[in-house]
């Protein structure tokens, strides 16, 4: 049978001649039209099959849809549409070593101290420090001495004095510094705003159940409520260049987040900076947080956990500022597959009435999900100080042992603005 089905030699030769002629013909066609249009549609994997390539195609099409969405609002709606269980990250937490875990969730490197621009003395403000000092002392005395209050509720004694102190102090400082920094004149001050952020980081294999073996991204949500914040229409200038590399590392923790302990819930995925997208003041300047009774210093010292005081303050700073800067970036239309092209900078002051800590944050990357993070060498950077005492004691109507360094840092923070000539506010 093999012999009978073998073709005669002449026919085989003819076939070769035919293909040679065809090849020659095609060559001339190609020389005439340099880019031939494909004759058949591209070979794509299925969209609805139960395969990895189909899953990849669905993901790609979703990313194309988000890329094509007009404006930040539509992109945020598409990315936060589907509710799934997510870890709720609380900025003010009682967990041990929370700052290292939060750094790994947000890909942040922590640098102790402040960057040079904010730590060095500003020339113009030296004269006014006296006036601002008296303003600050007056606000302190008002809350701690002059005002008569009822007996405070259990574990809410500090709240009674510190929240009105901040509420009085911040607008008065802003109005005193408006001539130096016209940006503050165009700013908006929010009281108890909601700041929310939702992001994906890392992957997890489902251990049990009908979805066993599936690989899911790990979702996080921060819902923060600073006591007050200043939003401005112009972005703060960058502290270091976008691709700048610093020696500090981002801690990588391989253990799953529930061991922190961190708990999962499912509800609306919110991304919010304090105002809606249409608001013109869409960039953040400074947040003021009240270090609540979870961060009580006396209790930590009594429990022999003195090192955890700074850990909790750092965790608060990193989480709150990451959420705020991330939400600002998403308002501008950046997301994990469309990484930020300029760094987003914000500042925060955390206080419990006596101790002040200053933090500033530069968001260099939003690409934290497992697919986007593989080729990403950027990391977010957080600078922060240790907590400093503002005053030693209040004796009667006199503030003793006032610390000018804290006041000067506060003034530098509020005077921070972009020095460019293109700024329309001057």
């Amino acid at each position: 049978m093999a012999a009978r089905s073998r073709w005669p030699l002449m026919r085989a030769v003819d076939l070769n001649a035919g293909s040679r002629r065809l090849g020659a013909g095609l060559g001339t066609e190609q020389a005439a039209t340099p880019t031939p249009t494909p004759r058949y549609p591209p070979v794509l994997p299925s969209r609805s099959a139960k395969s990895k390539s189909a899953q990849g195609r669905r993901v790609e099409e979703f990313f194309q849809q988000v890329h094509g969405a007009p404006g930040g609002a539509e992109k945020i709606r598409l990315l936060t549409r589907i509710q799934r269980p997510k870890y709720v990250v609380y900025p003010q937490t009682l967990s041990i070593e929370a700052d290292r875990w939060y750094q790994s969730f947000t890909k942040t490197a922590f640098v102790p101290g402040l960057p040079g621009r904010l730590a060095s003395a500003a020339p113009g403000a030296a004269l006014e420090l006296g006036q601002l000092r008296s303003l600050l002392c007056e606000a302190l005395l008002q809350e701690n001495f002059y005002v008569k209050r009822r007996r405070p509720f259990l574990y809410r004694e500090r709240e009674q004095t510190v929240l009105p102190l901040l509420g009085n102090l911040v607008p008065r400082l802003i109005s005193a510094l408006v001539e130096e920094n016209p940006l503050l004149g165009a700013s908006s001050l929010d009281y108890e705003p909601e700041v929310n952020f939702y992001w994906l980081r890392g992957e997890r294999t489902v251990p049990r159940g009908h979805r066993k073996g599936h690989v899911d991204p790990i979702r996080f949500q921060i819902d923060d409520k600073p006591y007050c914040q200043i939003r401005v229409p112009e972005q703060l200038p960058e502290l270091v260049p976008l691709e700048h590399s610093i020696p500090e590392d981002v801690p990588v923790i391989q253990i799953e987040p529930s061991r922190l302990p961190l708990f999962q819930r499912q509800y609306d995925n919110n991304i919010f900076i304090g105002s809606k997208i249409a608001d013109s003041s869409c960039y953040g300047h400074t947040q003021f947080h009240f270090a609540s009774d979870k961060l009580r210093r006396e209790k930590l010292i009594k429990d022999n956990l003195t090192d955890q005081i700074e850990v909790r303050l750092r965790a608060n700073g990193i989480a709150s500022l990451f959420a705020w800067t991330g939400a600002q970036a998403m308002y501008q239309g950046f997301w994990s597959e469309a990484d930020v092209t300029r760094p987003f900078v914000s500042q925060a002051v955390i206080t419990d009435g006596i101790y002040f800590s200053f933090f500033c944050y530069q968001l260099n990357t939003l690409a934290l999900s497992s697919g986007a993070d593989q080729q990403n060498h950027r990391k977010n950077i957080c600078w922060g100080t240790e907590s400093m005492r503002l005053y030693e004691d209040i004796e009667g109507d006199h503030v003793r042992g006032f610390n000018d360094e804290v006041l000067s840092l506060l003034v530098h923070f509020l005077l921070n603005r972009a020095e460019s000539k293109k700024s329309s506010i001057s």
Binding site: L94, N304, L305
Partner: protein, 161 residues
């Protein structure tokens, strides 16, 4: 006076009642026994896992470790593990596996703990010249004889000459 019950553990019903003005209750020899266990799921380095009696609380665990063993404890979390009542014995009666309480203790001052390897793998190679080695060699030779000729390339005996 402490009245110990049949299960021989000090529980809330046997502590004397506190009345205003009483001195701080101090217990010098508890009947609690804690078992350090290997965690089933991976835990952070500063976390140690224990099985504790049902009557113990987080504060009892903390005081126990700090007073008796001088271990600095930052935080304690507990949970109760319910074990199955579904298994049945040869008489078809349900057999309960006892419940237990687990405690996760986080150590303070940056201390870490990893559960040691209690059953290390022993080196399985027998000594040269011993009986086991000759026996193993004999068994390996027998297995080698049972296998097909490798030159046939996996083709079975059904084919061929």
């Amino acid at each position: 006076m402490l009245h110990l019950e049949h299960n021989k553990s000090v529980n809330i019903h046997s502590y004397p009642l506190y009345q205003l003005g009483n001195p701080q209750l101090r217990i010098f020899r508890t009947n609690f026994f804690m078992t350090l266990v290997r965690p089933g799921r991976e835990q952070p380095e500063n976390t140690v896992q224990f099985r504790i009696p049902m009557e113990m609380t987080k504060f009892d665990v903390k005081n126990y470790l700090q007073s008796i063993y001088s271990v600095p404890v930052a935080a304690v979390r507990t949970r109760i593990q319910y074990c199955t009542n579904k298994k049945r014995n040869h008489k078809n009666q349900r057999v309960k596996r006892p419940d237990y309480k687990a405690a996760y203790v986080q150590l303070a001052q940056g201390q870490t703990f990893t559960f040691p390897d209690i059953f290390p793998q022993k080196d399985q190679t027998p000594e040269p010249g011993s009986v086991e080695e000759i026996q193993n060699k004999f068994l390996e030779d027998e297995k080698q004889k049972q296998k097909a000729d490798p030159r046939r390339g996996g083709v079975t005996d059904w084919f061929g000459l």
